[in-house]
Symmetry: D2
Subunit: 411 residues, 4 copies
């Protein structure tokens, strides 16, 4: 599978060296569709709170490729048969699993390309690459779609302990500096095994898995659902939503051609091939450039949201254990409407329920395999010390509203 | 100097926590002029070669603030007197030392704002902030300009072992994953001392300093002067240069208002106040957005350079021990002219002399202080093992030219 | 407090540099009673399971001194008043808190110096040093005994989040390589605060504390109560117990003078001054040397235990969720008696209940301080995500018995 | 080669997990001869200066086994053929390469087993194990003796860039906390290749190799030849030498049976089989126990040396760039003789020439392999930046003598 005179190695601050397993994979990396991921930040506006988190989806995808090579090598050492074709399919599928991400993904998915999931776009782009490369991605696409008969291949791409999570939790912990979220990806991979084509974990790895479940919790509450980062993302979403509405009202805004294409259209169903073309032009620069321009726009709502996002004049954001009372909500809504005009509250006041199940053992059980080959759910192991308390979901409430003090300063 | 109920702490992947020493410093950080640094990458296009190097100048400035607090605390423990005013001046000066950096600094300084140094712009912005804050930055500006009578304050801002270098070498090593460049910033700072108002190093720190000098060498040859990163930056410079020429010929290009302002003007002398205003609007997004648009421009030279930079169709780049021969240079120039038309060679073929003096002991001597208080140049120490070989400059030659194979693919 | 020409710095793999705050502390470190800790392993026979865990109590004590300096500096930055005398008392007390540890402490405390706690011996040695140094340790002893009126000083020495634990958990995690146990000592210290002379934690530190509580659990189950390490320690205890009994029967064994002194005596009450003298001669070498000799002794029980410990012919050890049944226990006891003669079962078959309360909020509440200065138990915080599940004790059962297969090989 | 139900994994603070490749290797690790290495410190008395350096030769050997597995896997990925027999031979040879080390090796080799090298003893022990295991070590022994026809196997065991050095430099740097010595073992191994059965390095690894050469220098001057550590080792050697002389004069000292055996005998030639038997009983405990006893011996010289070593009353030690003058040497010798009696100077006053060649390119050239398969010495590479200055040997002089102030305190 190797061609030694084009062996390529990337430096990665997380794993050291990342080597590229063969030339075809290298060509995929060099492809324009994949290079676009360089310009898409992995964690969006989270860098407003954790300034180190400027890493790109490109690097995450390379990191996944690295971990997948470790996984293949570990499983083969344990006498799990993986053919060269299956191996390559795993590499392609994990490399491209996020290729359909747009800039500030959640923001886009909620507004600009409403109703179109990034997984679907990833699949579409893979299919397009498959045409270009004359069927070389056939098996990868089967694995990505979980249609391949050996289940563990798909589980390595997407499951409770998939390679995607093993990279992004470790990587996001690394770049944010939130050490509580640092998981032992290497250790978990070294404990992977396969029984009857299902992915399982050797029993010795139990504490690495428990630590992983807990670290994931820390990452959710400290990073992904951080009150301020979550709040500023909400405001970005509102800015794009407002922009789209202004377009519907016949206005045009200073923006980039690619973003304008999406502001002008609705996508209730799947993308057309043309849509994919334009989508592949879009990256974080389009959004940031546009938002910067909108700071001077005449529409008060758009202007306020843009200034809030660009200049980090952040909304007031809280996380609470109980739902926000109707009265409190109404009070903030009225204040917003009063200040910005009727209807503004929908842009400026938000309540969101945040629900995390640390270990969803029904949907995604983690199986531990004993030395004798028998398997049981991690929660039923004699050794478990922290898993059982992790069955219960944690529910909190994010509340984010217009803070007149802050915003007055900026208008 | 503290106000405990607004103490702010940032997470940093390099140092863990960075705390903000007082409210005024915090206000400076929140200032729009400083927040702009979030959108300026510390190492520009180096991320094309080291994909982890997406960190911003904002984070570097915070890192400097952190190290400066360590330095102040270390020196005070060694009974060096530093007044609260001097302390704050150090923090302000190091925080703002790079505030005048534009996007892809070297590129800009060579073209867009030709002849205007980022240090000068930093100073201008500091002066403007000083007006806004009614003289609070007076002492910081003196220190920054090396006009303050206690020399070591200025040396902490800029010298062979200044806080700026101690942060950026460590940080760039960290984010690139080039571990050969990892310096012991903490160790060097813990060895700092002051004698007769000059910054010196306790003799016990000799090996940390030697390692620093060597790591710096590694960073230069592996990162800052990496043949490919250096090459793509050259092409970015040429693209901006070409754009500016097209403006002179009366054309207008798709770009952002702020960048257009600079493409339309020449700056042979200092900036006007208006120039500063627009400069503060400019960040990496303006350049990347524009280059992306220029991929479709009718001018063959601009289009080629833009595609080369955006799609990573990189020029052929080499580093050699000897100057490139006239014949070879001429051959590549002719090829470029033939392909793109007369005059194109100036854009596509470049030779650069790269000269590094590992330890420039004449310009910036490093003084070691013995237990008895006597000082000598590190190179004269009985303990030195690697310093003397580091007097000699290393000279190499970068050669970068149009690679017809690669470019044909993209046009 | 500093005398710059005798400033001493130690290298530490965990924290980098450890500096010694003043000359008197340095003299204590150089004292023979403290140097003895170099020859006492921090985690005893745990290195049988985790071969990196060869670190000494000496290093742990230095590590504590380092963290205490961080704590003092943090608290002063938050305007907590700590006088130079209190500061020095903290350093002395934490440096010497373990000075009374014998070799393989738990083993010794269960047998050789039965009924005498290492804390009491530490106190006795401190008092002796206090005489030698003419009262210099007065305040340190008060703090160590929790008799000082400002409660937080004593809490820094011994409490749920004391400096002792913050060092040993981090250090033992580091040297064992059990990364699940790696706590953020620095982060926790940077979040320490004092309210009404009580140690509290700033609310921002909540996740560092939760991670600490969980990491501590991991360290208990993976390291301190590891079935094999716990088992081999039980056998070491039995070997010493057997040796003591042989002495009572009038035998003499090959051993060292210091250890013999303790094998010949019973200590139901406090140590005499002579006892302390001999105790200070004792270190790991005495025990290991003796056990090595006993491998050839004629007493079958002693010989078997010694071989088991020295040659790592370990007993069969298990950890279970339920108590061992009477039948099973009886079966193993009979097998032991049959093989080694009546009475042997007491040496070779052991059941131990292991009970861990992750967060004992009644005995040692952790108080979080909000920005407004109000405090509440961490378990009552709106932000807590993992603390509540940590109230419940975990109980497991260690079972360890003679494994005829293994032992036959060695006799 | 694997037997999945006995797969064993060790935790290692340096590499994380170390897995044992097969059952036979595991049996060797469990063997009494190998377990002895647990009780032999890797860096002897260096822990007097670097208190973290308590790691054992056992852990170093396991670390080598780990790196060797990496090397085999890397080379196979580059299509270097290595048969399962060769693979196992590499593992056995590297695991056992140091099995003949005695306690405080250099001390012993200079005195107790004068003239017998630890490599020879390692070989003898391997041969004995080979008998026990009926020829299973045949190939390993050939490789260890560099008699195998494929040269690179022997080079992986012993050469400029062998696995032994790659582990001990990294490990000693780790445990001492001397970060200047931290080499990128993983990176160097990932750059290993084989051409015509010779070990070479891919050209991309040049900076990792240059960093390695420099880090090795730092380790020599900061650790292995540290003036104090080197001095205390000299005094330990003298103590053993003095003990041996007292035995020759007919005295017997308190010591262990195994050490006494060696104090009573001279070994000018190879060991007998009996000698090996007793040698395998010997570890650090024997030496430390004996030295501790000798602190009270009537012989003034022995007593002084013992106290100096045990209580860390260290001799005065210096490192200079020039040889010590005859006059100065004579002065110190006279002082020693005067104080301790004629002849004492040989024990208490020492000058040693220390000579390090950073890169001995004649004896052990490092070959870089270009992409086209051609090889050249690293020093001739266009890319080298630091190698050439590393040809020159560095020579310094260690001077160590009786410091009357210090010793008077203790006698």
């Amino acid at each position: 599978m190797k061609n030694s005179n084009k062996l390529k190695i990337f430096n990665d601050p997380v794993y050291g060296f990342i080597s590229i397993p063969d030339e075809f994979i290298f060509d995929l990396i060099e492809h324009k569709s994949f290079q676009r991921l360089r310009r898409i930040s992995q964690t969006g506006l989270t860098q407003y709170v954790y300034p180190g988190a400027t890493h790109s989806r490109y690097l995450h995808a390379l990191g996944c490729l690295h971990l997948m090579q470790k996984a293949v090598s570990t499983l083969r050492q344990k006498n799990v048969q993986i053919s060269p074709e299956e191996e390559r399919a795993l590499y392609i599928a994990i490399l491209l699993h996020d290729v359909g991400h747009g800039p500030f993904s959640h923001a886009l998915e909620s507004t600009i390309v409403e109703g179109v999931h990034h997984e679907d776009i990833s699949l579409r782009i893979m299919q397009r690459l498959n045409e270009e490369y004359k069927g070389e991605l056939d098996l990868a696409i089967q694995v990505f779609q979980k249609k391949y008969h050996r289940k563990f291949l798909g589980q390595l791409i997407a499951s409770q302990l998939d390679i995607d999570r093993l990279d992004y939790l470790k990587r996001d912990s690394f770049f944010t500096g939130v050490t509580e979220g640092n998981i032992g990806s290497d250790r978990i991979i070294s404990m992977m095994n396969v029984r009857e084509d299902e992915l399982v974990i050797d029993v010795k790895g139990i504490y690495s898995v428990e630590k992983y479940l807990i670290s994931r919790m820390f990452m959710y509450w400290q990073v992904y659902l951080h009150k301020t980062a979550f709040g500023v993302e909400l405001y970005l979403i509102q800015a794009l939503k407002r922009a789209k509405e202004l377009y519907k009202m016949g206005e045009r805004l200073p923006t980039t051609p690619a973003l304008e294409y999406f502001l002008e259209r609705d996508f209730n169903e799947k993308f057309s091939s043309d849509d994919i073309d334009v989508f592949l032009e879009l990256d974080d620069n389009d959004v940031m450039f546009s938002i910067k321009q909108w700071q001077n726009h005449s529409d008060l709502i758009l202007r306020t949201l843009a200034i809030s996002v660009v200049q980090r004049r952040l909304p007031k954001a809280e996380i609470r254990n109980n739902p926000i009372s109707k009265d409190e909500l109404e009070e903030k809504r009225q204040a917003a409407n009063q200040y910005f005009g009727e209807g503004a509250a929908d842009y400026f006041v938000h309540q969101s329920e945040l629900k995390i199940i640390p270990y969803d053992h029904e949907k995604y059980p983690i199986l531990l395999m004993d030395k004798d080959g028998s398997c049981k759910d991690i929660a039923d192991s004699e050794k478990q010390i922290l898993t059982r308390p992790l069955f219960e979901p944690t529910i909190k409430y994010h509340f984010c509203y217009w803070n007149s003090d802050k915003l007055e300063r900026i208008l």
